[in-house]
């Protein structure tokens, strides 16, 4: 069995937030006790609603935030012992908004070659050649390397972001909502590009998205996050077909497939998404859970493993 190109062990990130003047700080548990592993060439879909900790998880993997507890291993090495450059050599990001993630004052060529220059890989001649090579690969005409981001369409910009992430051939690419800012007709082009690049370069993806249709399309395994914890994880096909955690079931039921014969789903979550500073006791999902019993209010369910699937619920099972 694959030891995993990325291994996350009991990772936690706690932010100190102000509670108001003279009141001292409060702890915001953005990520708590998260563990998962991603095998080489896999696509892990990290899903959940806003505020569930998926972007914090991304920052921890990219080394942009320091872990409060636990550890993350990239190709078997602890990120705690790696510098920024060593992490960057292995993991590269693609962000949501290509209008915000590309420096408007730099030419496309300079943007794409930045990782090579920052990591001191190769010389000027090689940079230009690599830029042209990767632009061809992601479907950008190499002549555009002298242009600036404002001269490109949204889809082209996201191709630039993909090219920049792939130019030094990282093992892992972390895609944080890679198509959320794009139009539907352009989204398909970028999703196809990600599929192509995975085949061409054997890269492993971590795909963070709130769009479950996109995740189902690309992911090989899925982890569902709720209030900083993973409530369910396992192979994508199984999670989508037989979700066991009531939260996963609610999420999947809320997806509006374009089927005019179906009406709007009855979503049973009436309570609001809780404030992560005042975490509910016991299972953090219990205030919104249709199955909640006494034990859920007092005792946090441990994740139970069964044939590659993990569910953290006192009463898991089909809806």
């Amino acid at each position: 069995m694959n030891a995993g190109i990325l291994r996350v062990e009991n990772a936690a990130k706690v932010y100190r937030v102000s509670a108001g003047m003279f009141r001292g700080g409060l702890d915001l548990h953005a990520v708590s006790d998260v563990s998962f592993r991603v095998g080489e060439g896999e696509v892990l879909g990290l899903v959940g609603e806003s505020g569930c900790g998926k972007t914090t998880m991304a920052k921890l993997i990219l080394g942009l935030e320091a872990l409060t507890r636990g550890n993350i291993f990239l190709e078997g090495r602890s990120v705690r012992k790696m510098g920024h450059r060593e992490i960057a050599r292995r993991v590269q990001p693609i962000f949501q908004d290509p209008y915000a993630s590309l420096n408007p004052r730099k030419s496309i060529g300079a943007i794409i070659s930045l990782p090579l220059r920052a990591l001191g890989m190769g010389n000027r001649g090689e940079w230009d050649e690599k830029v042209r090579e990767i632009m061809n690969l992601v479907g950008l005409p190499p002549r555009l390397r002298h242009n600036y981001p404002n001269q490109l369409s949204g889809g082209q910009r996201q191709r630039v972001a993909v090219a920049r992430a792939l130019i030094m051939r990282p093992r892992i690419v972390l895609c944080d909502e890679p198509t959320s800012a794009l139009d539907v007709s352009v989204q398909a082009q970028i999703l196809n590009l990600l599929i192509d690049m995975r085949e061409a370069m054997g890269v492993t993806y971590i795909l963070i998205s709130h769009d479950l249709a996109v995740v189902e399309h690309l992911a090989t395994s899925v982890a569902v996050m709720y209030l900083g914890r993973i409530v369910e994880s396992g192979p994508a096909a199984e999670i989508f077909r037989h979700p066991l955690h009531p939260y996963t079931q609610t999420l999947l039921a809320s997806v509006l497939t374009p089927d005019p014969r179906k009406g709007l789903p009855k979503v049973s979550l009436d309570a609001e998404y809780p404030n992560p500073i005042r975490m509910p006791p016991g299972c953090s999902f219990h205030p919104r859970c249709p199955r909640a019993q006494e034990i859920c209010r007092s005792q946090r369910p441990e994740a139970r493993e069964d044939g590659g699937r993990r569910v953290a619920c006192h009463f898991p099972g089909p809806a």
Partner: protein, 331 residues
Amino acid sequence: MTALLEVEGLRVDLSLPAGVLHAVQDVSFHVEKGETFSLVGESGCGKTMTALAVMGLLPRSATRSAERILFEGEDITHAHERRMTAIRGARMTMIFQEPMTSLDPCYTIGDQLEEVLLEHRRVSRREARERAVFLLEKVGITAAASRLKQYPHQLSGGLRQRVMIAMSLMCGPSLIIADEPTTALDVTIQAQILSLLVSVQKEYETGMILITHDLGVVARTADRLAVMYCGQVVETGTVAEVFTRPLHPYTRGLMRCIPIPGKTRPGQKLDTIPGIVPTPIGDLRGCLFRNRCPHARPACAGEGIEEVRLTPGRSYRCILQPEENPEKAAA
């Protein structure tokens, strides 16, 4: 019987440094009482401009012309600004995508809700407050009376959008225009807000124009729709008609390029619409989709790409006859 809203030949032009942008070109549609009519399309297709033009809320740089805009039987094509102010917020209301930018952060929820009624009706503040509490409860907000004293920043995104819906209902409007009402919300909240909109709309027999880019939202909530591309309506019909038998190549392309759980095979390449959406600036001729269309032929660049009306509510703008379509319907 006349429709609640009838729009004929609506045009909106925007003067930009690069030339005149034809944001809305000859758009016609109608909305019946109690019906949800959806304007669907990608960003820049003119769906929001169409709604703003109907409301009389266009930016100063825009010029509007129309053969006819009839609202509740009244011709508002050339209505004076004072008349539009009386209609807006009372008979015709709008819900925007991001509730935080449409609510004033300096005033309480109660002040903002009550103001709508005090502005348009001769009522006392107490009556206005009672109406506000009644509607907040209606949109599923608990402890409504105490919410009135809260400020927008104290509410979550889902609650703010509920407040916006309550606000749009204060005067009992006959038409609600909802512009991407759930795009800024999480999926679980999206379903709740849409259900809420549909239920209050059915209860009060309000007509609704639902503007969205999300085909899932349209399929599940709308009765009829118009697909817009580059400022033009390229196809209209009932939701069942358009989704089961799309007639315009753009509509078909849109429906095929999204991954659909249970339908598209995971990991398989998706169909794409090649190229990008052009900006409708300058002299426009022929079909605006022809550069991206798999069936484009020389005639598509010529004049006379007119809307073909099959029935009063079913039309498409393409010179291909439906029988000529290489594919009968999207899978």
